[in-house]
């Protein structure tokens, strides 16, 4: 499969502190790639660096185009949907407005249909349509964030710890939906997770990040069998 996103020698900084030390990875078109690692390994920073949200150095080629150094909004318009850390809900706005915002940079007329399609994945959102988004539960906000990012009609979806803070049942449901979205829409995904078990079940390729460096990579299935990973991250 051709690579949709290719990252080479990517370093990122918070102020003067370098927190990513030149990592290389790729996301295949139509595939799901997982970035695994403990807290503070640099997973969220990697996603932020791709979207131009932190100071970074290195090469980022997306869909055949170098996007490093571009503004966040330009990268979004180029086709990267980002479900950020903390869900990024527009708390003061209604659920409907949150959804419309997802599609706000699109010029086409298919937004209504797309929102309908989102209700297919997340029926709860239809019930909550008029409600202020800040009143949604954590799981509902996570679904809203995914729907919002998808409404951009991105080529690549970045997901930052979608399981964070959610009940196990909801997490399972959500990952099933993500798998469906990947299948039905051929949506390429780069997913960051602490819950390696879940992520490896969804992903076809995975990278293991440790203190800003890639320690290991391979097919998701192989990674699951890897003793070191099992021991450190899967807990069995």
């Amino acid at each position: 499969m051709p690579a949709l996103l290719e990252v080479a020698a990517l370093s990122a900084f918070y102020g003067e502190t370098e927190v990513l030390h030149g990592i290389d990875f790729a996301v295949a078109a139509g595939g799901v790639t997982a970035l695994l690692g403990a807290n503070g390994a640099g997973k969220t920073t990697t996603l932020r660096a791709i979207c131009g949200m932190v100071r970074a150095r290195g090469e980022i080629v997306f869909d055949g185009e170098a996007i490093a150094g571009r503004a966040t909004e330009a990268i979004a318009r180029r086709g990267i949907g980002h479900v950020p850390d903390g869900r990024g809900t527009f708390l003061e706005l209604s659920v409907e407005e949150n959804l419309r915002l997802g599609a706000i940079s699109r010029g086409d007329r298919g937004v209504g249909d797309d929102i309908e399609r989102m209700f297919g994945y997340f029926p709860k959102l239809r019930e909550r349509l008029r409600q202020q988004a800040g009143t949604l539960s954590g799981g509902e906000q996570q679904m809203l964030a995914i729907a919002r990012a998808l409404l951009l009609r991105p080529k690549l979806l970045l997901l930052d710890e979608p399981s964070f803070g959610l009940a196990p049942l909801i997490v399972t449901e959500m990952f099933a939906i993500l798998a469906r979205i990947n299948r039905e829409e051929r949506m390429s995904m780069l997913i960051v997770e602490q819950n390696a078990n879940l992520a490896l079940a969804l992903a076809d390729h995975a990278y293991l990040l440790e203190t800003g460096r890639i320690m290991m990579s391979g097919a998701a299935a192989e990674m699951r069998e890897n003793a070191a990973i099992r021991h450190s991250y899967l807990g069995y």
């Binding site: 527009f90 708390l91 003061e92 706005l93 915002l101 706000i104 940079s105």
Partner: protein
Amino acid sequence: MQALLHQIFSGIATGGIYASVALALVMIYQATHHVNFAQGEMATFSTYIALTLIEAGLPYWIAFVITVAISFVIGVVIERVLMRPMTEAPVLSSVGVFIGLLLIFNSVTGWIFTYTVKAFPSPFPETSRFLGGWASPHEAGATAVTLIVLALVYVFFRFTKLGLAMRAAAFNPVSSRLVGIHVGWMLALGWGLAAAIGAIAGMMVAPIVFLDPGMMSGILLYAFAGALLGGIDNALGAVIGGFAVGVIENLAGAYLVGAELKLTLALIIILAVLILKPAGLFGRAIVSRV
């Protein structure tokens, strides 16, 4: 009774002016958490532009539209040039820059247009058969203009894509960028709109209070009072607050403190709100009480 009604209606008319300026203040506050101390001076400058255009022979409403457009551009330019580097700046720096702007606008206005008090024309007839004496035609007309402006602003923010993008950028700039909104330009547009609304308020109040470079300082004070009363993070609240302080000012001026202490009354309202209900009547309680 007639006198009381007249006072109330006058209060609503000036309240509309306060409401407009309060709305302009709140729009900038919501987006940047800065209070534009120069909002009044900017509006005065715009009003002088209008007077210059009218004196040059342009029909009133054409001068009106051109003035609003010019003010919009001035607002956008100020945001792009001066305010952009201030996004992350501490309160002292931002307050300082706004005070600097106030000084510059005030002086440049005096410099170009002199400090003499000037009359400003009203687009509305001198007398009217319809209003029966409890409101002057200008008051009625200015109120109508204000209400139309407020309604347009509401429709714009509530029902247009651009309005939604601007609200999103004000509430959550990070998420806005992630959906492709040009947040910087939204802020600039907000400044433009605020300046345009201020300009309209200036043109509506100038026939009542006459035009001089310090014309808006008292009005700005009442707009502060209105914005705080309604809740400085709540646009609708600020508009209601603006009307309310207009009525309070007129009634208190007529029956309580007299016209001499009108500004002091605004100060008292501001202090009372800040002390008793810092979030305002309709605001969310997010005032930093350190």
